[in-house]
């Protein structure tokens, strides 16, 4: 249904999208995952014929985006990041306008609009001005606009951004309900969202394709390892004895944690009032929490906190990009992380802009 080959978008100073190739089969929901500025929106804009690629080609529903943009546009429903609604229009009026410019036949228009409003649960606000609707409603109006002409392909740019958790759940349900009839590409920078909605995932960072895989494969690949957050503090008496030398304590704890069986690496996160926080990553398939706790206690330190943390997108990128080109990732361990401030802020590969 969608075939992308070597798609590239170059601007004067930077490359927004760099030779991306992938395919999406009919009826699939594909998640387009990447941090902000990775090139998701640019790729989508090229697929929707909003802007032409610098290089490469793409085919949507059997039509080339450069050769027959009109045919592509007829078969695509697109929801940009901010819903393209006219605040002064009433919902039903807006859908009428969109229906006409999308070429929905006049005869079935009223019925189709009713159908779509039903599907997106906006029938109760049909006579309201869009500008006066809540953000969740506006997003759904945007979505109804995208599906109005019953397109083969739906392209949704961050469909849940800026919504509250309840609205996010509703929107996800709605999108899941649309699968089957439509082939859907949706972009997001939230991993659970992909897990919740998509069958396949395409990960890009800095304009490059990092991975494309089924969601099941990806999560098993990533969740085999465990990330544990540990906060350790020296006992009060021993602080006095050590002459409150934070650095010594820090490296002692770091060493101790690294020696625990099953630990693959230890990242120092932050120090506050002589309490040190670390993120410890396990080797594939190892439970390390009991061992970590024992190691800390046996060394005579206070264990303030110990809990398992999910992988953040940054860390996934760190992992995935590390698999691809290890030379670009910062060396693990204390030397890479500044003493104050978290590892996320230190500009790992996910911070593409």
């Amino acid at each position: 249904m969608i075939k992308v080959e070597g798609l590239t978008k170059r601007y004067a100073r930077n490359v927004a999208v760099d030779h991306i190739s992938f395919q999406v089969e009919k009826g699939q929901i594909v998640g387009f995952l990447g941090p902000n500025g990775a090139g998701k929106t640019t790729t989508m804009r090229m697929l929707t014929c909003f802007m032409p690629p610098t290089d490469g080609s793409a085919e949507v529903a059997g039509f080339d985006i450069l050769d027959s943009p009109m045919e592509v546009k007829r078969r695509i429903g697109y929801l940009p990041e901010s819903p393209p609604v006219y605040p002064e229009m009433e919902v039903i009026e807006y859908l009428n306008f969109v229906g006409r410019i999308k070429g929905v036949p006049k005869a079935g228009m009223a019925r189709r609009i009713d159908e779509v409003m039903e599907k997106c649960a906006i029938t109760d606000v049909r006579r309201k001005e869009i500008g006066k609707l809540s953000k969740g409603y506006r997003q759904r109006v945007g979505l109804s606009q995208a599906i109005l002409h019953n397109p083969d392909v739906l392209i949704l740019d961050e469909p849940t951004s800026g919504l509250d958790p309840h609205q996010i759940m509703e929107t996800r349900d709605l999108i899941r309900g649309l699968a089957g009839d439509h082939t859907i590409i949706l972009s997001t920078h939230i991993l659970p969202e992909v897990e919740a909605m998509c069958e396949r995932v395409i990960i890009i960072a800095k304009g490059k394709l990092v991975a494309t895989d089924t969601v099941a494969n990806l999560t098993s690949r990533l969740h085999g390892t465990e990330m544990v957050s540990v906060e350790v503090a020296p006992r009060l008496s021993s602080t006095a004895a050590a002459g409150s030398d934070g650095h010594v304590f820090l490296s002692q704890v770091q060493q101790k944690l690294e020696q625990v069986a099953g630990v693959s690496r230890v990242l120092h996160k932050e120090s506050r009032d002589s309490r040190e926080r670390f993120t410890v990553e396990s080797l594939q398939g190892r439970q390390i929490r009991p061992e970590l706790a024992r190691a800390v206690i046996e060394s005579g330190w206070n264990l303030n906190e110990l809990h398992s943390v999910g992988l953040s997108l940054e860390e996934i990128f760190l992992q995935l990009t590390a698999e691809h080109k290890p030379e670009e990732t910062p060396a693990p361990g204390i030397t890479a992380a500044p003493l104050s401030g978290s590892a996320e802020a230190s500009g790992v590969s996910g911070e593409a802009q």
């Binding site: 929707t48 014929c49 007829r74 697109y78 002064e88």
Partner: protein
């Protein structure tokens, strides 16, 4: 068909924002003032002429209509940027331009639709000023053909300014910039006519020819000069063509 859809949408958003009402109000006010002044001086001069015993009657078309028409054109210079400023800039700012561009519409349909809506609004404003002139028929019998041709000229001239305004609006996402830019260009196109009176070299002639105000003279005299009509039409075409280029630039600029 698509042109009309876009046009209708633009018109309805004009009348839902205060812009249309504000612009029409001030246009009516200023045009009404000019009409009052023109008729007042015509009447007093007529009276004086009658008292001096001049038998030759004064022509309403010459004294009132002609001057008034070119004045209305000048008001248009100030008002048209306010009509066109939001056409594209607003859609670019809110992102609705993405809806239009990714819909199966040709660029020219979007541009023509928007320009047509602006032209209809301008025509409505001219219509208001026409009401003033029609009151002259209560007291006299001014020739109606020059009046009609004069208004046709105003409409064409307005079309030019609206096409330029569309172009400026398509270049920016800021309405204020679009308004000021359009106003500046309109002003330029007005004052370049003045250089023509400096000397008679080819350069001043060419530059002076660009003045959109001067080309309305023949119309307000009641002469339908194909040369001036052609000037206006090609000017409109150029403006809309540039709008198309500017719209396309959205696609290769970030």
């Amino acid at each position: 068909m698509n042109v009309l859809t876009i046009c209708r949408k633009e018109l309805s958003s004009y009348f839902r924002s205060p812009i249309a009402y504000g612009v029409m109000f001030f246009f009516a006010l200023i045009a009404g003032y000019f009409f009052y002044v023109a008729t007042y001086s015509f009447v007093t001069q007529g009276l004086r002429a009658a008292m001096m015993g001049q038998s030759q009657p004064m022509d309403v078309n010459d004294y009132v209509v002609r001057g008034l028409l070119s004045n209305i054109g000048v008001i248009g210079l100030f008002m048209t940027p306010m009509i066109t400023m939001r056409l594209f800039a607003e859609e670019k700012r809110t992102g609705t331009i993405e809806l239009l561009v990714t819909s199966p519409l040709h660029d020219y349909e979007i541009i023509l639709g928007k320009w047509l809506a602006a032209l209809i609004l301008y025509a409505a404003m001219l219509g208001i000023s026409l009401i003033n002139l029609l009151t002259l028929y209560l007291y006299g019998r001014p020739a109606w053909k020059p009046l009609l041709i004069g208004y046709l000229g105003l409409l064409l001239q307005g079309g030019c300014m609206l096409a330029i305004g569309s172009f400026i609006s398509a270049c920016t996402r800021n309405q204020i910039v679009a308004c000021v830019g359009g106003f500046g260009i309109n002003l330029m196109l007005w004052v370049v006519g003045w250089v023509a009176s400096l000397d008679s070299s080819t350069l001043t002639h060419v530059v002076g020819y660009l003045s959109i105000v001067d080309h309305i003279d023949s119309f307000s005299k009641g002469v339908l000069d194909s040369k001036d009509a052609f000037f206006f039409l090609s000017f409109i075409f150029l403006g809309l063509f540039l709008t198309g280029r500017a719209m396309e630039s959205i696609r290769w600029r970030a």
